[in-house]
């Protein structure tokens, strides 16, 4: 009887050891990849000449709704205000260069820093309704956010500041390399919202 109890204990211990070994083996083995990725590829290379006078970086909240569905997220935006120097209007008279400052180009992107887009909450006003946003719905909310941010860039005077910097920088650059007097005029010091 005593021998049987001892055998039972040994058997139990053996089963436990095998189970533990199996659990460790399963735990240590690689998990299934959730996402399969293609190699990154160059889609386009564009040579250009742009004077960038302002870099923007801002965390902004994204609050939006589509029907009864609502979303709250945090987006880190990056952007720049630049000027196309390739097609700049330039006139040389005597020993002076007259330049007209071109319209600004306001680029706004999502940052490549970690966690630049984080969905905080989604919900549906209807108790049994789905709170899942489709890609098209989410993209549309992001486009609206970009346009709101673009408007803010003008409203906060960032464009005005960028244009003023551009005026100084172009004057300095052309005067240095040409040795001539440079006069830069700005027809729209506040920029052209909705222009480019």
């Amino acid at each position: 009887m005593k021998l049987l109890t001892t055998l039972n204990r040994i058997l139990l211990l053996a089963i436990l050891a095998v189970a533990a070994g199996l659990a460790i083996w399963l735990y240590k083995s690689p998990t299934a990849p959730e996402i399969k990725m293609e190699q990154a590829r160059i889609a386009d290379i564009k040579p250009l000449i742009r004077l960038c006078t302002m870099d923007l970086y801002e965390d902004v909240p994204m609050k939006g709704d589509v029907g009864p569905k609502h979303i709250v997220a945090r987006v880190t935006l990056t952007g720049s205000i630049s000027f196309d120097l390739e097609n700049i209007e330039m006139d040389e008279r005597n020993d002076s260069i007259f330049v007209v400052l071109p319209p600004e180009i306001v680029d706004i992107y999502e940052s490549t820093d970690a966690e630049s887009y984080r969905v905080i909450d989604t919900w549906n006003d209807n108790f049994f309704g789905s709170s899942t946003f489709t890609t098209a719905e989410e993209n549309s909310l992001k486009s609206k956010l970009r346009e709101r941010y673009r408007a803010k860039v003008y409203a906060k005077g960032y464009v005005r500041r960028a244009r003023s910097e551009a005026k100084d920088n172009i004057t300095r650059l052309l005067a240095n390399i040409s040795g001539k007097t440079v006069i830069v005029t700005d027809p729209t010091p506040n920029g052209t919202p909705g222009g480019i």
Partner: protein
């Protein structure tokens, strides 16, 4: 049930809600507006594509993946989606670091020599929107939601940055375009009346 058991249950109820898997990172909203003086010479868009798909048994590697693949096999319906987006890089020179000594003119040979600052590259950002190239979720499978898409974008972002870091071809191509463009621009700007323009880049 004795009093000790009741205390134990009450204690567990008090303590368990405090057990969280991980604290959500609390980041303050941050804003920075910086005046710069960069002459951007080239821009590159890098495209990345990713697929969400169930793991098949024949693709499984190791017991855990086999178990997951077997579980996937008994799920009713399919869940496949392909997403892509572009990330943008630019090559520029910092005009703020140029000094008058970087420009010289030799009257005898009618030659202007420009010693431009070293060309730098940087990420400008990525598309805010994500492109849904393919979406097939049917049966009893759950839809791919915004949190999962945000996660995919995060994973793709990390991968792109690593690929650009490890594969010098990305930056080399961009810098090469930028150098050509800078030479052509300054030649057209200063190369009037048979003036010869030499553009060098500092190391």
């Amino acid at each position: 049930m004795n009093r000790f058991s009741i205390y134990l249950i009450l204690l567990a109820l008090a303590v368990l809600p405090g057990c969280k898997r991980g604290e959500e990172p609390q980041r303050n909203y941050y804003a920075e507006v910086k005046a710069v003086n960069k002459l951007v010479l080239a821009q590159m868009s890098v495209s990345k594509m990713a697929t969400i798909d169930d793991l098949k048994i024949d693709e499984a590697n190791g017991p855990r993946q086999v178990m997951e693949a077997m579980l996937n096999a008994i799920k009713i319906g399919d869940r496949v989606a392909v997403y892509s987006y572009d990330t943008y890089m630019r090559a520029y020179i910092d005009l703020g670091s140029m000094t008058p000594d970087d420009i010289s003119y030799d009257k005898a040979s009618k030659t202007i020599t420009l010693n431009l600052p070293r060309i730098s590259t940087e990420f400008m950002g990525r598309d805010m929107e994500i492109r849904e190239e393919h979406y097939r979720v049917n049966g009893l499978r759950s839809a791919i939601d915004e949190k999962e898409r945000a996660h995919i974008k995060e994973v793709m972002n990390t991968a792109i940055k690593m690929e650009v870091e490890n594969n010098t071809a990305f930056r080399e191509k961009l810098i090469s375009e930028a150098e050509t463009k800078a030479r052509a621009f300054f030649q057209s700007l200063l190369g009037e009346n048979d003036t010869h323009v030499i553009v060098n880049f500092k190391n």
